[in-house]
Amino acid sequence: MTAFVSLADAIAEHVRDGQTVAMEGFTHLIPFAAGYEVIRQKRRKLTLVRMTPDLIYDQLIGMGCAERLVFSWGGNPGVGSLHRLRDAVEHGWPRPLELTEHSHAAMANAYAAGASGLPFAVLRGYVGSDLVDVNPDIATIRCPFTGERVAAVPALRPDVAIVHAQRADRAGNVLIEGIVGVQKETVLAAHRAIVTVEEIVDDLMAPSHNSVVLPSWTVDAIVEAPGGARPSYAHGYYRRDNAFYKNWDPISRDRDAFRAWMGDNVLGATAATHPAKA
């Protein structure tokens, strides 16, 4: 049963130290506001799951919230490295970060398997890749019907899924449109789900009978957080802030600059104030 709550209350109630948390959104609709609140509430020892860690996990990792990262591509898109992620992996700062590293196809299928109630996913992939040697969560199995060899990865079943969406209606049904990524799979794979939305409306105004809608009974908490995906974007609401992504590079390269930025823009802020600039 979904509840309309504040962001602070949603994180306080549903996200606990040591949990496995997936904040998804494939470049689009990245739940930054929720990530900032997790940082403010000082969650620790999280296993963070996300196909593309992006700035949101660079910040969580740099602030010491994560113990393990499950991912498939950890860069600043079109810009370069995620420097806080690199610093954690290369130098253990602010604490060591264990990696469970997959390909995109495997991550997407692992969420789909979780949503489907299956123990594992199969895919035609990883052939010849050294990822098989460094990730024990990649196996090769034989098709019981043809004998063909295919890759298998365990289903992802996060304790908590957090996604951002365009809007929810007052019954708590959620609409996601544009690049829909793996959010539906992530929400349905997780034990609990928090959805932040641009707005809560009387009529969902789904543009098609085939729109991606999460029914209210699949979501535990809905939070109205306008602008909550910035500096990523919300299709139909605001564009991706590419300048923010570029400006993040020098901030994140330097430990002190990073901490100062987080102090000024996140720790010293509230859920209602969302950093506009990097």
Binding site: F26, T27, H28, M51, T52, F71, S72, W73, G74, G75, P77, G78, V79, S81, L82, L85, R86, V89, E90, E101, H102, S103, H104, A105, A108, N109, Y111, A112, L123, R124, G125, Y126, V127, G128, S129, D130, L131, V134, E148, R149, G178, I179, V180, G181, V182, K184, E185, V212, Y233, H235, Y238, R239, R240, D241, N242, A243, F244, Y245, K246
Partner: protein, 259 residues
């Protein structure tokens, strides 16, 4: 009409674009491949179908995306599908003719590293990782690779095989059960290279204007082979350069505007 006022990077992009055909269905990597694929669409291959791993099918961006999932890609696509569907039905299903990849390291058999420099457990440089590349390299009909030519990129042995090329060479792909061709072309800012039909070792097949064999040898980390017949890469035409520069100028303007 050919021009002389172009950069090595522009030559690389133009040469890569020329390798694409109007009936290709191309899985596009971000960065240099994205520029080449869209240049192809705007010049010699207007019918080309471009797909990005964000799920955008047959997209026609007016400006180059900074990320793999900019809104521009969705707004100009005929359809945007979930990411799992993109990798399963479209890539794994065998619907893609060409995959276009970049590389941090590449060896003589086109094995690609985008994961780590140094040992995996204690890397000197932690690179972004695989993204969609391992399955792109497995499942696309063939693979084109773009990389700036340097001996730190073109290395004797990659530190990590993120995406399998031709393995140890020869029939290594088919021995692993792969039914796709794998890497068939490498485009750099100095030359074009193709795998030998039998050994699969890369050989230079075309050299860009103003580049010597010695330049290529000095910028390759192994003793690079040259094909029996090596062509001169035609320099960019005025049209190619104008279209590419317009594309980059539009892109720069769009990326500065944030709201």
């Amino acid at each position: 009409m050919t021009r002389t006022d172009y950069s090595p990077t522009e030559m690389m992009t133009v040469a890569a674009a020329r390798a694409l055909r109007h009936d290709d269905v191309c899985f596009v990597g971000i960065g240099a491949p994205s520029a080449a694929c869209n240049l192809a669409r705007l010049t010699l291959a207007p019918g080309i179908t471009l797909l990005y791993e964000s799920g955008t099918i047959a997209t026609k961006p007016d400006v180059l995306p900074l990320s793999i999932g900019d809104g521009e890609l969705c707004e100009t696509a005929i359809a945007t599908v979930p990411v799992a569907e993109m990798f399963n039905y479209w890539l794994q299903g065998g619907r893609i003719t060409v995959g276009f990849l970049g590389a941090a390291q590449i060896d003589r058999f086109c094995n690609i590293n985008t994961t780590v420099i140094g040992p995996y457990a204690s890397p000197k440089v932690r690179l972004p990782g695989s993204g969609g590349a391992p399955e792109i390299a497995n499942s696309c009909g063939q693979i084109f690779i773009m990389a700036r030519h340097g001996s730190k990129v073109f290395v004797p042995t990659v530190d990590f095989v993120t995406s399998f090329g031709h393995g140890d060479g020869g029939d290594h792909r088919s021995r692993l059960g792969l039914r796709t061709e794998g890497p068939s072309l490498v485009v750099t800012d100095l030359c074009l290279m193709k795998p030998d039909p039998e050994t699969k070792e890369l050989a230079v097949v075309s050299i860009h204007e103003g580049v010597t064999r010695t330049d290529i040898e000095e910028h390759t980390g192994w003793t690079i082979r040259f094909a029996d017949e090596v062509d001169d890469t035609p320099p960019p035409t005025s049209t190619e350069l104008d279209v590419l520069r317009d594309l980059h100028a539009r892109t720069a303007r769009a990326h500065e505007a944030t709201l």
